[in-house]
């Protein structure tokens, strides 16, 4: 009996809070059928209902900080993005993007009649308590009562709730009646039907129930308070009578419903391979740059972190990488900027000329090999032209977290400034430099970098010669290589694929021949070893593998000189071997 009821209730909508309970930057705490919930509204208005548990050590997220876009666990600072509940940052691993599988459990949510409704399993319909869709009733003060939902139901059925004196002097129906299609909703009407009151029960856990109340029609400002007081007094009396009879105070909770079995890792939302996306918006961002907003055709996109990029798999067979420019908590769609390359081989040209709003594209990712540290006192962001895209996402993230940073954006002319609407919000952190020569540019870069300070980090993205010049300057100014982060959009190295060598795979025990004209990645895939890849030209870092023995012949631009010299990592899409054999950790 209990089990059936619980099962039925799991896929029903239940009120869990008043919308007005969700104050700005607050985390509301409640339970539904024994599941602890953290409920919070992002600054963009989105209401998140999550399992109240950090995936790290299980601390309650309701103790954490709502920063308006992300929820930060109070204990060790893990950050989770609004909407997806995916982890965006783990302070103990500041340079690494968290795995896509680190994703909290999210519950279905609906906002209706001034209440936040949630369910354990997705219900088929919308919350129904017999009110017109557009009704905006007065939300009464809800009370937590120390009794199971069945016990409270039993007492409500025999309760007599008078309407407020002035409303119905002629006398009203004092008795409550259950709603025909929702057994957890009780109705009370005035004799002339002009006023209706609804009490809806939230099954909190096996021994506690929250009584929510709605009063309709809506009232003028001045006449609300007496009604709120009236029902608060009635419900308080109801609770006192109920609890004294049942000898409990609300706190004595306990058994009844089974404890939740899952610690909410939500693998469903993880996008592993290619998915279909629709171009929901397309607009001119700057001279020669088109902005595109992509939305999933089905399901949800996975969580991105600042610096992440997508692969666009075009119908003409080409694959191109574009950085996500979204700010923190901006999930559910991705925005990218596409510059028309003068020497386009069919990637940007196709996107510019052929793709319109409403068209569909296949995408994969997001991948993040350009991770942003969010724990340092000073971050220098240096952008050249369209290289600004990953840095736009980073700047918005740092700005939201109140971390000190500067973004210097070098462009040909004012007309080439992209994503101004996002940049405008950065205030004094942003400086735009137009029409500078390479020498003038590097002069400003020098000033911005200055001598290296402990914990400072620099991130740069732009044309390859600019990145190389910045890296050189940073080195001269004493910046350690691990503090200089960069992302090349392309690898301009002239690739040599002549050598012949073997790769031995330490884990699977296979030994494979790599002939001239073939890449390690291709050979691995032909032999059934799946390895993620993205740009396949040695720029993005996705196909990296650890090297256990042998001397790699590096041809990528992802690893820095020190990393190349250490010889313990390799980009399998372009790099080869100087030694006869390479032993790889796969």
């Amino acid at each position: 009996m209990r089990e059936q009821l619980t099962e039925r209730m799991a896929s029903q909508w239940h009120p869990i809070a008043a919308i007005s309970d969700l104050h700005k930057r607050h985390v509301f705490q409640t339970e539904l059928l024994g599941h602890e919930l953290a409920v919070w509204r992002a600054d963009d208005g989105y209401v998140n209902v999550w399992e109240n548990r950090c995936l790290h050590r299980g601390s309650r997220l309701s103790l954490g900080i709502n920063d308006g876009a992300e929820l930060v666990c109070a204990y060790h600072g893990w950050r989770y993005s609004s909407r997806t509940a995916g982890c965006t940052y783990i302070p103990a691993h500041p340079s690494d993007a968290p795995a896509q599988t680190v994703c909290n459990r999210v519950y279905p949510v609906s906002l209706k009649y001034g209440l936040v409704w949630a369910a354990l399993d997705q219900p088929e319909n919308t919350p129904d308590i017999g009110l017109p869709e557009t009704a905006e009733p007065l939300v009464l003060r809800s009370l937590l009562v120390g009794g199971s939902v069945e016990a409270v139901k039993g007492h409500l059925e025999i309760a007599e709730f008078a309407l407020p004196p002035r409303v119905d002097e002629a006398g009203a129906e004092f008795e409550l009646e259950a709603h025909p299609s929702n057994p957890l909703c009780y109705l009370n009407f005035s004799t002339d039907d002009s006023v209706s009151v609804r009490f809806i029960l939230q099954p909190f856990d096996g021994a506690r129930t929250v009584v929510h109340g709605l009063y309709g029609p809506a009232l003028e400002d001045g006449s609300r308070l007496p009604v709120l007081r009236h029902y608060n007094t009635l419900l308080t009396k109801f609770r006192e009578a109920f609890e004294s009879e049942n000898m409990v105070l609300a706190e004595q909770s306990g058994e009844g419903f089974d404890s939740p079995t899952s610690v909410g890792r939500n693998f469903d939302s993880v996008v592993a391979v290619e998915v279909e996306a629709e171009v929901s918006k397309r607009w001119e961002v700057a001279s020669g740059v088109v902005g595109m907003e992509l939305r999933p055709v089905e399901g949800e996109f996975s969580t991105f972190q600042p610096g992440a990029h997508l692969d666009l798999h075009l119908p003409n067979g080409l694959t191109r990488q574009y950085s996500v420019i979204n700010g923190p908590g901006e999930q559910g769609y991705f925005q990218i900027g596409i510059k028309l390359e003068e020497e386009s081989r069919g990637g940007s040209l196709f996107l510019h000329q052929e793709v319109q709003e409403g068209d569909r594209l296949r995408i994969s990712g997001p991948h993040n090999n350009f991770g942003l540290r969010r724990d340092v006192p000073r971050t220098v962001l240096l952008a050249g032209g369209i290289g600004v895209t990953p840095l736009v996402a980073m700047a918005q993230s740092l700005h939201r977290s109140d971390l000190d940073f500067s973004l210097d954006y070098f462009v040909q002319s004012k007309e080439h400034v992209a994503f101004e609407e996002r940049l405008d919000g950065l205030g004094a952190h942003l400086q735009i430099h137009t029409g500078l020569s390479p020498d003038e540019t590097i002069q400003i870069v020098k000033e911005k970098l200055g001598a290296y300070d402990y914990l400072s980090q620099v991130y740069c993205c732009g044309p390859p010669p600019m990145i190389s010049a910045i890296r050189e300057q940073a080195l001269i100014l004493g910046w350690p290589p691990e503090t200089v982060h960069y992302e090349y959009f392309e690898n301009q190295t002239v690739l040599n694929d002549e050598s012949i060598f073997q790769v031995h795979l330490a884990r699977s025990g296979l030994t494979l021949d790599v002939e001239s004209g073939r890449t390690i990645l291709e050979v691995l895939r032909e032999n059934g070893i799946s390895l993620p890849s993205s740009c396949e030209q040695g720029a993005c870092g996705t196909c990296e593998v650890a090297v256990l023995d042998g001397v790699p012949f590096h041809q990528d631009v992802y690893l820095n000189e020190a990393e190349h010299e250490s010889g313990n990592r390799i980009m399998t899409c372009v790099s080869r071997s100087h030694s006869e054999q390479l032993v790889l950790d796969i």
């Binding site: 705490q29 900080i65 109070a74 308080t236």
Partner: protein
């Protein structure tokens, strides 16, 4: 300079530290080995406070004990704006006093439960918790209707007062005594607002928000 005989984990000492920091009054802390040393019961400390309680302040030779008394003294002397203890507004002063009396109750229930659980005090823990919940219900109801009236704090007016300051520590540390605040949404929001005040100070167990 004011000297505060202090113990980091004491709610009553925290109340005094909160106000000293809000008012930016220079002070130094004399840490008492309350647990496990029971230094507040030592012979030398009983000469300062025969009751053997902390906090005690020493303001250039003027000794004062009992957190509520200390707070009133500090507010009257150092708060030029009379914001925390509105001595010139009789009705608000009455409200502040009413809630300061109420805080005796929260300290003797919620904070007593915390002493039982964390420092092994022999109290009737069930009675402490039940008593705290009864008071929290009153507090939550009051704060909920304050919000409906557009007011953020326990007393009327736009600013927090000593009423909020003395009840806040008992409330925010209640979970250390096994008293959950899940059923008190208005209390939880008020505790957020209090922690967002400029010059608010933390103590062990109080998390920023």
């Amino acid at each position: 300079m004011i000297k505060l005989y202090d113990y980091e984990l004491s709610v009553n000492c925290y109340k005094v530290r909160l106000l000293l920091n809000f008012l930016l009054v220079p002070h130094k802390l004399h840490s008492i080995d309350f647990f496990p040393g029971w230094e507040h019961k030592s012979e030398w400390f009983r000469e300062i406070n025969p009751l053997g309680h902390i906090p005690v302040i020493d303001d250039e030779g003027f000794l004062l004990r009992d957190s509520n008394a200390i707070l009133i003294y500090l507010a009257a002397k150092y708060d030029q704006s009379c914001r925390w203890y509105p001595v010139h507004e009789p009705s608000r002063l009455g409200e502040v006093s009413q809630w300061m009396m109420f805080s005796e109750g929260t300290t003797n229930t919620a904070s007593a439960a915390r002493l039982h659980d964390s420092l092994g005090y022999e109290f009737d823990i069930e009675a402490c918790r039940e008593g705290a919940h009864k008071l929290f219900r009153v507090l939550d109801e009051h704060l909920w209707f304050q919000e409906q009236n557009g007011s953020s704090w326990l007393c009327s007016g736009d600013d927090p007062t000593l009423a909020d300051l003395v009840i806040f520590p008992d409330v925010i540390l209640s979970e250390e005594g096994g008293i959950s605040r899940v059923g008190y949404p208005a209390i939880r929001r008020w505790a957020d607002r209090f922690r967002h005040l400029p010059d608010f100070s933390l103590m062990a167990g109080v998390l920023p928000t």
